[in-house]
Amino acid sequence: MSMSIATQATLKVGKVAGLSRSVRSSKAKRAVKCAAAAETTTKKAPGPLQRGGTLEGEKAAGKDAGVAAKTGALFANGTQEWSDPRWVNGTWDLNQFKLPNGETDWNAVIDAEVVHRKALEDCPAVYDEDGLFDTSIVPWWVWVKRFHLPEAEKINGRAAMVGYAFAYLIDAAGGAGLVDLHQSFLGKTAIFLTVAFCLTVRRLEDLDTLNVLADEATFYDKQWNATWEGKERPSDSQ
C-alpha cells in the first residue's frame, strides 16, 4: 500500500516537474484506483496545480520563487560558502570594524551585512554553523542617521513646498495671511489634517498600499463569514 502511495506521489511530482499533458494518463490511473464511476463531466477540471490561489506573472511578484529558483539556476554556481575574514563564528566580529579613534564603525558593519544578504539572495549558501548576527546590536541612532534622515529630509521638503503653495493660494484668494491662518480654529484644524496626511501618505504609491492593506485586513474575515451570508448567527439573535 505504501508503494502505491509513493507511486501516486511520484506521479504528482512528475506532473510538477514536467507540467506536460501526459499528466492526463496519470490522472486517469488515479481515477480508476478510486473507482470514481460517478463523475461523467467531459469538461476538463483544472488540475490541483492550477486551482486555488496560484498566481502568475506580475501578480506573483514578491510572492514568487525568484528568477534563480524558477529557472533551476539556483545552484548553477554550485554551493557557495560564505566567507569574509570579518565573519567569525556565525556573526560579525566587531573588533575588526574599529575606526582609528577606537569606536566601532557601524556603517561598515551595515555595509558588510548588506553585501552578505544580497549575496545570499542570489545564491543561498550552506553553512556549517548557525548564524547569530542580530541587527539590533547596531545602535538606533546609526539606523536613523543613515536611513531615516535622508527620507525625512525628502518628505519635509515636499511638505514645505505644499504648505507654501497653499499659504500663497489662500492669501491670494482674499483669505488670511500666514499669521492669521494660525490664529483661526479652522486654520489650525486644516494645518493639523495636512500634517497628518503628509505623514501617512508620504508618496502617491502609499495610497494604493493603504488600499491594498485595508482589503487584505478584512479578506480573511469575509472568507470566514461566507457561510453566514443571508443567515443570522444564533448568538446574534439571542
Binding site: 473507482a35 490541483p48 490561489g53 506573483a60 520563487a65 529558483a69 548557525d130
Partner: protein
C-alpha cells in the same frame, strides 16, 4: 394552568356525554401543549419532530481524526453512527505534530506519540538560527505521531463505543429535503472484496463530511472552493548520529528560496526525518522549493536515503458554505487549517467533536430530528471559540511571510523570550492569552523596529546596485 384545574374539577361531572368528554379531552390536550411550548422557549429547541422509537442515524464520511472524534461523541450521545472510511490503514501525508492540549482533551495514550519535540530552530533567509523552546517546562512538548497509528486508535475507540465502522468509499448522497425523507448515501463497500467495491446504499438523517481536503461530500453539497497550499515532503532516513541531532528538535526554514508564502521544515519522525516545504501562490515551482530546502538542510541530512515522497493539499481558509440542509463539514473538508503554521489535526478533531456535540444536544440524545439551524449552532460555536486564534495567525502570516526582510524580522523576534512564551502558550493550549500590556507594547515596538531594519538593509543593497 387554570384550564387544567378546571378540567380536573369538572371531570367527574363530564362522564355522562361523549361530546363533553371530547371537549374535556380537547381541553386537557391544550394545557399539555402549553406546558410543552414553555419548555421549548426556555431550553434547547427540538426543531425536528420526534423519531418514533428509533435512534437518529448519522453518517460520518471519512475516518480521520475529525471523523473518528465525531463518531465517538455521537455514539456516546446515543445516535446510531456509521463511520465510512475507504482505507483503514491509510498513512495520510502529514507533519504529524499535535499540541499538548490534544493529548489531554482527547485522552490520547502516550504510546501513540513517537517523539516529544521540546526544541525548535527557526532559520532565517540569511541563516540566522534562533533556538525556540527555552520557556517550555518539563511537561510541555509538541507530540510527533504517525498518522496511521493515531487514526487507527481513534477509529477503534469510536468502534468500541458503538460506532458502526464501514469500510467503504463514499460516492454521492441524495438529500430529498427536510421533511421529505432520509438522506440516501451511495457508497462502495469493500468489506467483502477489497479490490472492487460493491455498490450499496444507506439511509441516514444527518451527514457529517470529514473526508479531508479533497472532500467529496463538499462537492456534493456545493460547498464551494477554497485556496489551498501544496505541501510536499520527502521522508529521509539519515544516519544515527545525524538523527541524534533531531532527537527532540524540529526545524523551520523561512526564505524566498524555500517558499514564497509558507515555510520549509525538518520534522523528526520515529526513525527518520521528513523534509518538506509548501506554497500557495506558486505551486508549479514546488520542486525547486524542495530542492532549495534540501540544499539548506544538506549538511544535517547528508548520507540520507529517501524512503518516501508525498504531497497533499492544505486548505487556506474555510469553504464558502460549511453546511447545507442536514449535511455539514468538519476538519480539513471545512477548511479549518490555520495560516502561518498550517496546523490542522487538533482543529479537525475538535470540530468533529463540536459538530457531534451539537447534533447530540439538539436531537436530545438522538431522539429527535435535526435540521440546518441545529447544525449552524455548531458553526457559530466554532467561529466564536476559534476566530481569534485564526485571525491572529492570519495577521502573523501577512506581516511576516511577505518578503525576506519580513522573515528576517520574524526570526529576530523569535529570539525574544516573551515572544517564545506567548507563542508556545497559544499553540500548546489553544487560547489567545493576553499578556502584560507593557510587554505587548514593547513587543510591538521591537517588531516594527526589526522590520524597519531588515527592510533598510535590503533597500540599501538595491540602492548600491543601482548606482
Amino acid at each position: 394552568m387554570a384550564s387544567a384545574s378546571m378540567t380536573m374539577a369538572a371531570a367527574p361531572a363530564a362522564r355522562t356525554t361523549s361530546l363533553r368528554n371530547s371537549k374535556f379531552h380537547g381541553a386537557k390536550v391544550a394545557p399539555m401543549r402549553a406546558v410543552k411550548a414553555a419548555a421549548v422557549d426556555t431550553g434547547i429547541k427540538a426543531a425536528g419532530k420526534s423519531l418514533d422509537g428509533r435512534k437518529l442515524r448519522v453518517a460520518v464520511i471519512g475516518g480521520g481524526p475529525a471523523g473518528a472524534c465525531a463518531a465517538e461523541t455521537l455514539a456516546k450521545g446515543g445516535c446510531e453512527t456509521f463511520l465510512i472510511e475507504r482505507k483503514m490503514d491509510n498513512c495520510k501525508p502529514c507533519g504529524g505534530a499535535i499540541p499538548l492540549c490534544m493529548v489531554g482533551e482527547f485522552d490520547l495514550p502516550e504510546e501513540i506519540i513517537d517523539r516529544k519535540v521540546t526544541k525548535m530552530k527557526m532559520i532565517s533567509p540569511s541563516n540566522r538560527a534562533v533556538d525556540v523552546g527555552q520557556t517550555l517546562n518539563d511537561k510541555e512538548y509538541i507530540g510527533m505521531c504517525r498518522r496511521e497509528v493515531m487514526d487507527d486508535f481513534l477509529r477503534k475507540r469510536a468502534k468500541s463505543l458503538g460506532t458502526n465502522l464501514v469500510n467503504g468509499l463514499f460516492m454521492k448522497l441524495d438529500d430529498p429535503g427536510q421533511g421529505n425523507g432520509p438522506i440516501t448515501i451511495h457508497y462502495n463497500d469493500y468489506e467483502a472484496d477489497a479490490k472492487v467495491g460493491e455498490p450499496k446504499t444507506m439511509e441516514v438523517d444527518v451527514v457529517i463530511g470529514a473526508d479531508g481536503a479533497n472532500s467529496r461530500v463538499a462537492k456534493n453539497i456545493d460547498a464551494g472552493e477554497y485556496d489551498y497550499a501544496i505541501a510536499f515532503q520527502e521522508r529521509i532516513k539519515i544516519p544515527d548520529e545525524k538523527m541524534d541531532y533531531y532527537k527532540d528538535l524540529a526545524e523551520m526554514y523561512v526564505g524566498d528560496d524555500v517558499s514564497p508564502d509558507f515555510y520549509g521544515w525538518v520534522f523528526p519522525k520515529y526513525d527518520h526525518v521528513a523534509v518538506g516545504t509548501g506554497t500557495v501562490v506558486n505551486k508549479t515551482a514546488i520542486k525547486q522549493y524542495q530542492a532549495a530546502m534540501r540544499k539548506r538542510a544538506e549538511e544535517k541530512c547528508a548520507g540520507g536515503k529517501i524512503i518516501r515522497v508525498e504531497a497533499h493539499p492544505i486548505p487556506e481558509h474555510p469553504r464558502p458554505r460549511r453546511v447545507q440542509g442536514r449535511v455539514t463539514l468538519v476538519g480539513d473538508a471545512a477548511g479549518y487549517v490555520t495560516k502561518c503554521s498550517g496546523e490542522g489535526i487538533y482543529f479537525a478533531a475538535k470540530s468533529g467533536r463540536m459538530a457531534a456535540e451539537a447534533v447530540v444536544e439538539r436531537s436530545q440524545n438522538g431522539t429527535k430530528e435535526v435540521d440546518e439551524s441545529d447544525l449552524r449552532v455548531y458553526l457559530d460555536k466554532w467561529d466564536r471559540k476559534y476566530w481569534a486564534t485564526y485571525k491572529v495567525l492570519d495577521i502573523l502570516q501577512k506581516v511576516f511571510y511577505r518578503s525576506n526582510p519580513a522573515r528576517e524580522a520574524f526570526v529576530e523576534m523569535c529570539a525574544d523570550e516573551y515572544v517564545q512564551k506567548m507563542t508556545f502558550d497559544s499553540y500548546l493550549y489553544k487560547t489567545v492569552v493576553p499578556g502584560n500590556p507593557l510587554d505587548d507594547a514593547k513587543l510591538l515596538g521591537n517588531t516594527i523596529a526589526s522590520i524597519v531594519r531588515a527592510n533598510a538593509l535590503r533597500a540599501a543593497g538595491k540602492a548600491q546596485v543601482n548606482m
